[in-house]
Symmetry: C2
Subunit: 515 residues, 2 copies
């Protein structure tokens, strides 16, 4: 194998490697980068009225104690973290959190809640971005934290079956020890649960290569509103017997049933991973680099992430990470994953030569060593954390045609002027998924009104999606209509009524408030 020479500076050690913060510091309730200021109760900030559910009585608590002995939490201190979302933008006032260990216990809890008309908020790692993972009022919090067992792993097929409360990063470690990887990866990996990932149809950093959870999730076990356990936990790559019920629950944010176990197909661990962190002189060049990349890297391209200069400035400022490429208006992170290190290096080398030679890329650095790969990824993955240190964050997560991808950021900067502290754009360019974030010193209604519905109207005009991967949860449920026609919304309501006739599962989420 002949390796073509790479430009020397791409292979030179970047001085920041040793000091860069490790990738592991991902977000989560106890994470170091958690924003500090807490929000007031949700109904104070958002217009929402409590639905006529029952309230938890002493008899209910006794029934829960029988269902999950010693695992009924009512201590207000212990409940605080579970009532507030990670972004500290919404706050529920639940007075009870239940910690079942088995599907049967979940079933027993729901049977009781259904009978008593008690509302339930399923909660995984509480890392959601749209307020879907915390109660709005006093819903009972049903935590999957203790449902954290791997049920089986097939070392030939790579099929993993596990309980819903397994933390994504732990599953990653588990399958990596067996030469596989999880088909999804995201910044919140250290806290998020696989059940929550599936319930929100999480996209993340490996989507470009391994596709949607709708393809990689092979089976689910779900507990329905009335306590029925629906066992669709098969481990088959192909199964066309009847309607694919598990699809109903993927991405339905716990509003149609509670996912208790997951069967998922893990790809083989690539033998070689390379990451290049590159600077581009303009957005047109970012797009051309993407097209060149797809053509020259083909099947080994596993990520194409994009960040603007303002993102990188905030990462440097708030997290003290060194940025290996300076003074570029746009940055991209390209990852390859393949089965032959020599072949991959040759493909990547040719691509970089071409991109540098034609001026699409002006500077860059490359890593193959695991630790350095992680440090480059941290620059992308920790943007959310950096933003949260910058003040109150207005978050938008939209799908747009890539040609118009950055226009929305430019447009908003002009529109908001000094009202905003920062307007930044980054995201999964390879999937057409822009994360648009606006920061301000504190929450301001005026700024919110300058942003909404403007951002949604803009997105709808491009036939985009107003929620590419974060879902709708509580905070975005009323914008569903920007991306779906009334007849689709009506059918969604009918499905909700069929699966959860009393509406006790994660109320006030996903579907718009009834007029």
């Amino acid at each position: 194998m002949v390796l073509r020479p790479l430009p020397a500076r791409l292979l030179a050690a970047w001085p920041g490697w040793r000091t860069a913060c490790a990738r592991g510091a991902s977000r989560g309730p106890a994470g170091p980068g958690r924003p500090r200021a807490g929000p007031g109760p949700t109904p104070e900030r958002y217009r929402v009225e409590r639905l006529p559910f029952s309230t938890v009585s002493a008899e209910d608590l006794a029934a829960f104690e029988r269902a999950v002995p010693g695992r009924v939490v009512t201590d207000p201190g212990a409940l605080e973290a579970a009532n507030v979302d990670w972004l500290k933008t919404v706050r529920g006032c639940s007075k009870v959190l239940l910690r079942p260990q088995t599907s049967e216990e979940v079933s027993c809890i729901l049977r009781h809640c259904y009978k008593r008309n008690l509302a339930v908020n399923p909660q995984g790692g509480n890392t959601g971005m749209v307020g879907g993972s915390v109660p709005v009022f006093d819903e009972i919090i049903l935590s999957t934290a203790l449902m954290n067992q791997v049920i089986s792993f097939d070392e030939v097929s790579g099929i993993l079956v596990c309980q819903a409360g397994c933390v994504l990063e732990k599953l990653s470690q588990f399958v990596q020890e067996r030469n596989f990887i999880m088909p999804l990866d995201l910044g919140a990996k250290g806290s998020c649960h696989i059940g929550g990932n599936v319930a929100t149809n999480a996209g993340g950093l490996r989507f470009l290569r391994y596709g949607s959870l709708r393809g990689t999730v092979l089976g689910l076990e779900v507990v329905l509103a009335d306590g029925t356990i629906l066992n669709c936990l098969t481990s088959l790559r192909k199964d066309n017997t009847g309607y694919d019920l598990k699809q109903l629950f993927i991405g339905s944010e716990g509003t149609l049933g509670i996912i208790t176990a997951v069967s998922i197909l893990c790809p083989p661990q690539p033998k070689a991973v390379n990451v290049a962190f590159l600077g581009c002189p303009g957005f047109a060049e970012v797009l051309q680099t993407f097209t060149t990349c797809k053509g020259m890297l083909g099947e080994i391209l596993s990520a194409f992430e994009f960040m603007d200069a303002e993102c990188m400035q905030l990462v440097g400022q708030h997290l003290h990470l060194a940025i290996p490429v300076q003074d570029s208006p746009f940055y991209i992170l390209v990852e390859t994953s393949g089965s032959n290190a020599g072949h991959d290096a040759e493909k990547l080398g040719s691509f970089l030569e071409q991109a540098l030679g034609s001026g699409l890329v002006t500077d860059g650095t490359m890593a193959t060593d695991h630790r350095k790969v992680q440090a480059l990824w941290a620059l992308r993955e920790r943007i959310t954390e950096a933003l949260s240190h910058d003040g109150y964050v207005y978050k938008y997560d939209v799908s747009l045609p890539v040609e118009r991808f950055y226009d929305l950021v430019i447009d908003l900067r002009a529109r908001l002027g000094l009202q905003a502290k920062h307007v930044v754009g980054y995201g999964h360019l390879g999937d057409g998924n822009l994360h648009l974030n606006v920061t301000a010193e504190a929450f301001s209604k005026a700024l919110l009104e300058a942003l909404e519905p403007y951002v949604y109207v803009w997105t709808a005009e491009q036939q985009g999606s107003v929620s590419a991967e974060h879902g709708l949860g509580f905070k975005k449920r009323d914008v569903l209509g920007y991306s779906k026609p009334p007849k689709a919304v009506q059918l969604m309501r009918q499905l909700k009524a069929l699966l959860d006739p009393k509406g006790i599962l994660n109320p006030y989420k996903t579907l718009p408030a009834q007029a």
Copy 2:
């Protein structure tokens, strides 16, 4: 790039290349290989009773004529082909076939049928294997044949939007001219419609590499039972706004709605395709070859198909195709698709050296030239056609753990003895999907009873699926319970009742007959 030397015989021209029948002769209503004998009416062979739908009146015909002027077919000769399935195992007695060109026309037809309680059988290319694509009694046939327009194609993203009646092979040609490929391919490509592919969640030959239609279909337009047009025809890779309604219709065999348009993500055309056709001395060696293959070919492996000796014998005997490797008990077809011909040849060369050197593979031939690649694929793709020339075919399409994959074939040969003409096994080993076929001179109830429920029980004992990719249609609807628990079947019935309260859409299909 240094190409390692390959064993000379693998690169030697195979004498059969020039005489081999071209791959294009795929199955379809007018195809050359279509079996000749016709079945009697379905209710004579299967226990089924007509449900109390209305019958088509002169007023109905006049209404249809207004909806689709000049495209109401009532000529019995013209209806014959649409009443009988491709396998000639079931026959309906529909007296009217409608040929809409637009979704609005489909809507208009269904609005009328819904009001009048008339049953409707949606029909694409009529290439299904389970009797799902023809009427059972006198259902109105709604053909998508004239809904064959490409709506748009994005040459950057590879997203194709088209009407449901586009023939898969024509779409393949269309996107190939633009350097993309369809994410699915199957033997019936010359006749099957993309709408039918989606309605049956077709698997096929590219599943191993490009995954399920549940991941690659980005949007659908569907007409519901009452004529409502549900527009979920988005072209976004990621969209988490509300429940993913299109998933309800993928694989529901036209029983929940009629798919009228499809948005689908096409992968870039690989720059290099190689096919190796290999002989293995035993099934254990087939499995070891698969594991070796996955490890050494990694991301360029695009198909791993398996055929037993009896399959190849029938292909030679009935279709007069020359088999390039003789006297092997098992055959495999390995395909690679990649972006660098040199790298791919090197990977494939190393794999073949290893497989031959260790005795996993005893003989083989290889092709890179497009025509030769097609000729090798024909040996696999035309097995169905060869079997149909052998007599009446009992077809099973199961998912099994790969370790037990071939045991069912061996077991059945012993069980059936001289009752069967041939018992053959082939299929998508890479997906755990076995096609098990039994031929006999003519349909025999005794043979059917020796096969069923035996095959289903055997499969269920392995936690397999009794229909991996063919669906249930009419002929397999009563075996759903072997792969799905009663609570899942009950929820499927509730979904059917919600979406199609009068049950007019493709009745007698997918769901078991009510007790």
